[in-house]
């Protein structure tokens, strides 16, 4: 008898504490958000520095001009879409194109709203260091890549040339490209952008040749000048079948996305993020301050904000 009362009590307590009803976890915010009653915006940072630059400037302006508290969450792109749809993140400021997720969350479920363009155009490609391209100008054409394969050989690539790929989070067709273009290369996955950058810096220090998957805008290009290898030109739809790709990567105008609820009722912060739009040069300036001069993102953002008032005033109006 006593056991039964205990059990009933336990169930009752459980029901009371959890609020009896349904708990939709897609609507639950981070426990660290809104501490001490501040208005909070949560922004997603991706693992590359350009994304950190966007977020740093947005954070600085949100905090100093609009009086918000900004929380940053670092996650990879695809999980970030999911988090955005759940409202764990309020905005992604730099998206390189995820048609599948766009269809699912923007068109079908309508949990994510478009936030307009960032103003920066992104491009992925294969790059060699400029010091090597100057000595061997014909490397700029992909047809000559096989000629130089043995120059790019490393212990990891076996007998072939090494094509270094970066983070698994990034879009890449490189394995298919190497196969479909009959290149004598081995794709070596660095596994993270940090590893890739560190390796590139080491190669550059010794002026060694290397071939790498890379993208612009990227702050490292200012430190280690790189020249793109021209792949067969991109045509609309030539990358539709991932296994048969034999063309270059497109130029992508980078997009912003907002959580749908936040876009509606996010007040000043949502308006500001929708209007946030700058140029590749602006972004690189901030990225370089963060990654190369090792300023903290907040310091770099302050420096940029101090020098570009006319640009950001327009975002606040």
């Amino acid at each position: 008898m006593r056991r039964r009362t205990t059990l009933t009590a336990a169930v009752a307590v459980l029901a009371l504490t959890t609020g009896c009803g349904a708990a939709d976890m897609t609507k639950q915010a981070s426990p660290f958000a809104n501490a001490r009653g501040a208005r909070t915006v949560t922004l997603s940072v991706q693992s590359w520095v350009g994304s950190l630059a966007n977020v740093a400037v947005a954070q600085y302006l949100l905090e100093h001009e609009l009086g918000y508290r900004v929380d940053l969450v670092q996650i990879d792109e695809v999980p970030a879409w999911d988090a955005l749809s759940q409202g764990r993140v309020d905005a992604i400021l730099e998206d390189w194109g995820h048609p599948e997720q766009e269809q699912l969350y923007v068109e079908d479920k309508k949990t994510i709203a478009r936030g307009g363009g960032l103003g920066v155009t992104g491009h992925i490609g294969w790059f060699v260091p400029t010091y090597f391209a100057e000595q061997h100008p014909d490397i700029k054409d992909w047809k000559n890549l096989n000629k130089y394969a043995d120059r790019f050989r490393t212990a990891e690539s076996g007998g072939k040339g090494q094509l270094m790929d970066g983070s698994p989070a990034y879009l890449t067709h490189d394995k298919a490209l190497v196969k479909n273009l009959n290149l004598n290369y081995q794709v070596v996955f660095a596994g993270s952008e940090a590893a890739q950058i560190t390796q590139i810096k080491q190669f550059a220090k010794e002026k060694k040749p290397f071939l790498t998957y890379w993208y612009t805008p990227q702050w490292l290009s200012a430190k280690v000048p790189m020249t793109e290898v021209e792949l067969p030109p991109y045509k609309e739809g030539c990358d539709a079948d991932a296994a048969k790709v034999a063309c270059a990567y497109p130029h992508t105008p980078l997009q912003k996305y907002l959580n749908a609820d936040f876009a509606e009722s996010g007040g000043e912060a949502a308006d500001f993020l929708k209007k946030f739009r700058w140029t590749t040069e602006d972004q690189n300036e901030v990225s370089l301050m963060i990654a190369d001069q090792k300023l903290t993102p907040a310091e770099a953002a302050k420096k940029w904000v101090d020098g570009h008032e006319s640009t950001w005033r327009a975002w606040l109006s």
């Binding site: 639950q28 426990p31 670092q74 695809v78 999980p79 990891e156 996955f189 010794e206």
Partner: protein
């Protein structure tokens, strides 16, 4: 390769054992003679036959889509997972707000007061100093976030672990059912938990806390069960004869008798929760781990270290305090009025917290920070610039890495992949059976076969080759350092803090230096694994050698043995169980870093798990994670001579 193709018994084994070993091998050979031709005619070829694989990408992709579609509507999510998630969010928030409200002075005072009461004045000072250093490094708020997450995760782990342990400690049937599960969970690498949890709970703190609980609860359960089962029979009988009921017996005799094990369990749980709290930053846990992870993006070792040091400090402080609390339990010397001291400590804490609050100094003062990132980065740059290549005579680290890859990793990998699949199973069976029982052999073979069925035979052998190479390097270095530490007190004293740091430093911190030294590829992955596994191997070796019976040593000395002879002929043979345990731990720990290796170019299974997490691709990530688990099971069984007693990361 030598380690794999030499299943013959060692001559040092006593006669009976050798006899038994031969019998096992003969049985196995007979079995193979029947099965191998059969398998060979059906599925010839070196790699695992395509016909025997199961493609899981369809169902897993379907499951992932179903969850995304139903997460906000299905009752299972609304009425169960939703509440779990909500409870986590609320409790973490409560702790976090409490820590913020206490302010930096209050938290420091509280930490010191607790440490003083349970572990003494010296550790109280250490605790306060550690917390202040966290603030000095500019990491106060992230430290509090990590602490809040840890408090909730540790409490939940201890509760879950203690309940499971209680069940296993009191009921033989539960014990039999739970033991293999807990055994398996001990060899699971932390990353393997993340993907399934993220799928259900999405990115964020709830997923991070739950992954941490799943990871940290097993040691508590094991030690609770161990403590309850190890209770002194005579005491229990005495309690029985006094006519105690079952509940009285449990509460007044068994649990108090198991206090030491319980506290050791709490200690282990805390350490594992802390290491997981960092890894969970990949799925949005926030806090210190997130800072380390962000610093990685801008290739900033200094900033990563600034966030890594607080983690190390927290780990060392928590380890020492809970350890000291465990030692003090037996002695019970709290003086005449323990509650008076406790009240004084509490009052002091409240006064400090209120004072800071009234002074408006709740947040860590912005001016009071020390930037270590700059000097650290310069030091790392200098080191890598001078060691990378062109060092006279010995060559640079990049050359070593290249040679290690070409001369060790490549041959081992191609050798393993060249072996016909059935012969790999046979070798696994032979090794596991020789060292254990037919049960362990069966588990090992089934685990290996599961890898083939999952369709990741080739990458798994690639990973296995890296693991074997890393274990070999770890053991050579670990035994050498361990012997040095066992023979000299000074070396051991010098080593202790270094080992502490390497054991608790988040692996993300040393990814960049490792790549800067060894380039991108499998060599840096092996290096990262060695760094991680070395401390445990050194510790176990040194401890094993030191525990050798002094009488045996004394008699050897009196017979005129030189110190080298003593080591070779007395200490090492007598410490054999400890050395075998070191091998086992080395293997398990190296495997735990395989996924980290995927972040620096290790490729194979590690990369697949990282890829799965990054792309939300369940099929790739989960299958690779499962394969790592199977590899872990297999390697554990192959290197586990008797029932293992030590805990993970001992």
């Amino acid at each position: 390769m030598a380690t794999l193709t030499a299943p013959t018994p060692r001559t040092a084994l006593p006669g009976v054992l050798r006899h038994r070993a031969t019998r096992k091998l003969v049985t196995l050979a007979a079995l193979a003679a029947v099965l191998v031709p059969l398998a060979h005619t059906h599925w010839a070829g070196g790699t695992w036959p395509q016909a025997l694989t199961v493609d899981l990408s369809g169902p897993l992709g379907g499951a992932s889509d179903w969850i995304i579609d139903n997460r906000d509507s299905h009752p299972l999510f609304l009425y169960f997972f939703g509440h779990v998630s909500n409870a986590v969010v609320v409790s973490v928030r409560v702790v976090y707000l409490f820590l913020l409200a206490a302010g930096w002075a209050g938290v420091t005072a509280l930490g010191a007061a607790v440490a003083w009461r349970v572990a003494g004045a010296r550790l109280a000072l250490g605790t306060a100093a550690a917390l202040l250093v966290c603030g000095l490094l500019g990491m106060w708020v992230p430290t509090m976030q990590t602490l809040a997450l840890m408090v909730v995760a540790v409490l939940a782990s201890v509760a879950v672990g203690a309940l499971l342990g209680l069940a296993a400690g009191l009921s033989d049937r539960m014990d039999r059912a739970l033991r293999p599960v807990l055994d398996t969970m001990q060899v699971l690498p932390a990353f393997a938990y993340l993907l399934p949890v993220v799928l259900v709970f999405g990115i964020g703190v709830p997923a991070a806390v739950l992954a941490t609980v799943i990871y940290a609860a097993p040691p508590m359960a094991r030690l609770t069960a161990l403590g309850l089962r190890g209770a002194d029979k005579e005491v229990l009988e005495a309690v029985d004869s006094l006519g105690a009921t079952a509940r009285q017996r449990l509460l007044t005799a068994r649990v108090p008798l198991a206090r030491k094990e319980l506290l050791l369990g709490v200690n282990q749980t805390i350490m594992m929760a802390l290491s997981m709290a960092v890894i969970a930053s990949v799925i949005g846990a926030g806090g210190l781990g997130d800072r380390v992870y962000q610093a990685l993006a801008s290739v900033d070792v200094g900033a990563a270290l600034a966030a890594g040091i607080p983690i190390v400090l927290l780990a060392v402080v928590l380890d020492r305090v809970t350890g000291a609390a465990g030692e003090r339990l037996g002695q019970d010397q709290h003086g005449p009025r323990p509650w008076l001291h406790a009240a004084a400590a509490a009052a002091a804490t409240v006064v400090v917290a209120l004072a800071a609050r009234l002074a408006g100094r709740l947040d860590w003062p912005t001016g009071w920070t020390v930037g270590i990132a700059g000097p650290v980065n310069r030091a790392v740059d200098w080191m890598t610039a001078h060691l990378y290549s062109g060092v006279p005579y010995v060559g640079g680290t990049a050359d070593w890495a290249g040679r290690f890859t070409t001369w060790v990793l490549d041959p081992v990998r191609s050798g393993l992949q060249w072996l016909p699949w059935w012969s790999v199973l046979l070798i696994v069976a032979a090794l596991a059976w020789l060292i254990g029982t037919w049960r362990t052999a069966l588990t090992a073979v089934l685990a290996m076969a599961a890898i083939g069925v999952l369709g990741v035979w080739k990458p798994s052998l690639d990973t296995l080759s890296q693991v074997l190479a890393a274990v070999a390097v770890t053991l050579v270095l670990g035994f050498a350092i361990g012997i040095a530490a066992a023979r000299s007190d000074r070396v051991e004293r010098l080593l202790r803090p270094v080992l502490d740091v390497f054991q608790t430093m988040p692996q993300f911190v040393y990814l960049i230096p490792v790549v800067a030294l060894f380039g991108v590829g499998r060599a840096p992955a092996v290096a990262a694994a060695v760094v991680y596994a070395l401390p445990a191997v050194v510790r176990i070796t040194a401890q094993g050698l030191r525990q050798v019976d002094p009488a045996a040593l004394e008699s050897a000395r009196s017979l005129g043995a030189t110190s080298g002879q003593q080591l070779r002929q007395v200490q090492l043979p007598l410490a054999r169980p400890a050395l075998l345990l070191a091998v086992n731990q080395g293997v398990v720990l190296v495997l735990a870093v395989v996924i980290i290796g995927g972040l620096v170019g290790g490729g194979a299974l590690g990369y697949d798990v990282v890829f799965g997490l990054a792309q939300g691709d369940l099929a790739t990530g989960l299958v690779a994670g499962a394969a790592i688990v199977c590899l872990g099971l297999m390697l554990d069984r192959v290197t586990q001579p008797t029932r293992r007693r030590a805990k993970k990361g001992a």
